[in-house]
Symmetry: C2
Subunit: 341 residues, 2 copies
DNA sequence: AATAGCAATTGAAACGTTTCAATTAATTAC
DNA sequence: GTAATTAATTGAAACGTTTCAATTGCTATT
């Protein structure tokens, strides 16, 4: 394969000039530029990434470490469809700005810190995107300690942690409860995301505040944790329907979960939206195609992904102007919710 | 940050020995090993990836170039859910074997070859996974020409192209048509994937062969192309239902597409599985949760992803024993299909 | 015609590894 | 006790860039 040295020889200039042509073309004379350009094209030269990165200390790559569960290999955090949309946006935004995306996977059990250590200390990437934050997040603490460029999707409780992008989950739950009570619902259940992650904590705060402000009681039986699978939503819903006094409305952790819940409702001969109202979270594409179509809180994953990436690249490149974005999500009302019976 | 030189000094050995410790520990004496190990740990040393790769000519990274459409940014090839499962498997298998995954995105309009050229010539990756092949695929021709390690998901018509993994789409369609005719269907429509990709060609062969072997006619009106969105399935189904003599069974390009088709059917006051049979393709998780649950051809995306990755890594590492895998997909029968009326 | 000033170019050092021929130390065989 | 063999270690070259002080070649100014 061609090296910069060979290009230089063939073009009749020095390596320094070729390097300049590649990195700051305005510095090289038109005549040389043309000669170099020609040679580069005919030998289909591409600078060697490793050499570049070794010398210049940058990789033009951003890192992402999705947690893929090996036991339930279908699940990828945060929740499959949503993650893919986010990733697609990250990927295309990064490419647009001249960066690549490096994926390294973690499993739920393994300690993630060594992975981040390798990425940071081994200088594999210029910056990292952290997903699914926890209130006290070791990854964020580590990255902060190393002063390494990163942006997280989700907040944390670390005071130093400033660069994030997030959706206001508290607001989302308040809106939803407000909406359901306006339809006359009093018995509101919450099939909630597993405790531990920051977003589940934030949403819980919204839910409990809203319930209190409407003088509604939060029954233990009405709170069921679930993961992001249809099955877990289905199971949770069956538990709720087995209660002596089942809820008239259910807020769920995700659209997928809501689909499972609706499945359970239909199985019992009831109609979602008529007998029991169901609210999802995410507004994945399928939400509008399900029957009945799903009332849900929209998270703009595309926008989140591309803005997070843009923010990260800004930070990598030393521009720290805007360091946080909090989206206000929108409640999309469809047919899976209706007046309380 | 620590370098191998500093580690060597602190441990009282030469750089060569540290390098040996890192790469072939059996070559270094126990005493030295221990000293080095200690120093490495306390200075949290990680070898610099760029330096390593510059010298040793390998990156321990495999490349993947998904096509993300900017106009319809929700679509990622081959079809979102499926792609994510595939990617998750690739990612975790690669990580398991000590490789990372590098993502670079392409858009449908842009010429992909320069991207592959950069990856190959710039030695950004050790091998490439090619998705959604075409019969005459410039990417495959290029990689073959460069003698660069790659594995494709999908075959091509290039004679030299040996390393692939695929699902037997011809068999799948034959099975499906056989099944539908056994239920008494004669009027079978095919909402088929867009022409151009290899898999759509292969499936078409299966479909047409099967129709011929059952002495069934293929009506032009019954063949409608669609992409992987719900909407396109929905639109296609409406067109079929508007026909003077609508089909009694419909085979679709993907589960997502089938959901759209079922949506259209229900909207018309008909019942999928009773009035019209619908068959999907992929068997994504949602297929069993949809109502009615979807009869579909299962593609084992997880397995495909991890086997493709294993195959690629074998090739990268010089072991070429097994170079192709063709999965026989399974028709999963559920409620969206039934006897012809 | 000499000089100052600027634009363009040069060439060597440096980045942090791996590799390998050469060297040293330790062990075995007689 | 010496020679032969093996095991462990060393140190320098090389990988392909970028960077920057030094140099060269022009142009404009006097």
């Amino acid at each position: 394969m061609a090296t910069i040295k060979e290009i230089a020889q063939k073009a009749g200039v020095s390596v320094g000039t070729v390097s300049n042509y590649l990195n700051s073309p305005e510095k090289v004379a038109k005549k040389s530029s043309e000669a170099i350009q020609r040679v580069i094209e005919e030998s289909s030269y591409h600078p060697r990434a490793a050499a570049r990165s070794l010398k210049s200390d940058q990789t033009r790559t951003i890192g992402l470490v999705p947690v893929v569960s090996r036991e339930d290999p279908q699940s990828v955090e945060p929740s499959d469809n949503a993650f893919l949309e986010f990733l697609a946006a990250v990927n295309s935004t990064a490419t647009e700005k001249g960066y690549d995306v490096l994926l390294h996977s973690a499993t739920p059990k393994v300690d993630e810190i060594p992975i981040y250590e390798k990425l940071v200390v081994g200088k594999n990437v210029d910056g990292i995107l952290v997903l699914n934050t926890r209130p006290d997040d070791p990854r964020i603490n580590f990255l902060l300690k190393m002063k390494f460029p990163f942006v997280s999707f989700g907040r944390s409780e670390n005071k130093e942690h400033r660069a994030f992008i997030d959706v206001d989950g508290e607001y989302a739950l308040i809106e939803t409860v407000d909406y359901l009570t306006s339809l006359g619902h009093q018995l509101i259940a919450y099939i909630c995301p597993k405790k531990g992650s920051m977003f589940s904590k934030v949403r819980w705060e919204g839910f409990s505040k809203a319930m209190v402000s409407h003088n509604l009681e939060i029954y233990d039986d009405y709170i069921i944790e679930c993961d992001f699978s249809e099955t877990s939503g289905q199971v949770a819903m069956h538990l709720l329907l087995d209660l002596p006094n089942p809820p008239t409305a259910v807020i769920t952790a995700s659209d997928i979960c809501a689909f499972g819940a609706m499945h359970a409702i239909s199985t019992r001969g009831l109609t979602p939206g008529k007998d029991i109202s169901v609210v999802g979270f995410d507004n994945i594409r399928m939400a509008s195609h399900w029957q009945p179509s799903l009332t849900t809180i929209a998270q703009p994953f595309r926008k989140l992904g591309s803005q997070a990436t843009e923010m990260l690249i800004k930070i990598i490149e030393g521009d720290q102007t805007e360091t946080q974005i909090l989206f206000t999500p929108e409640l999309v009302i469809r047919q899976s919710t209706g007046p309380a019976k």
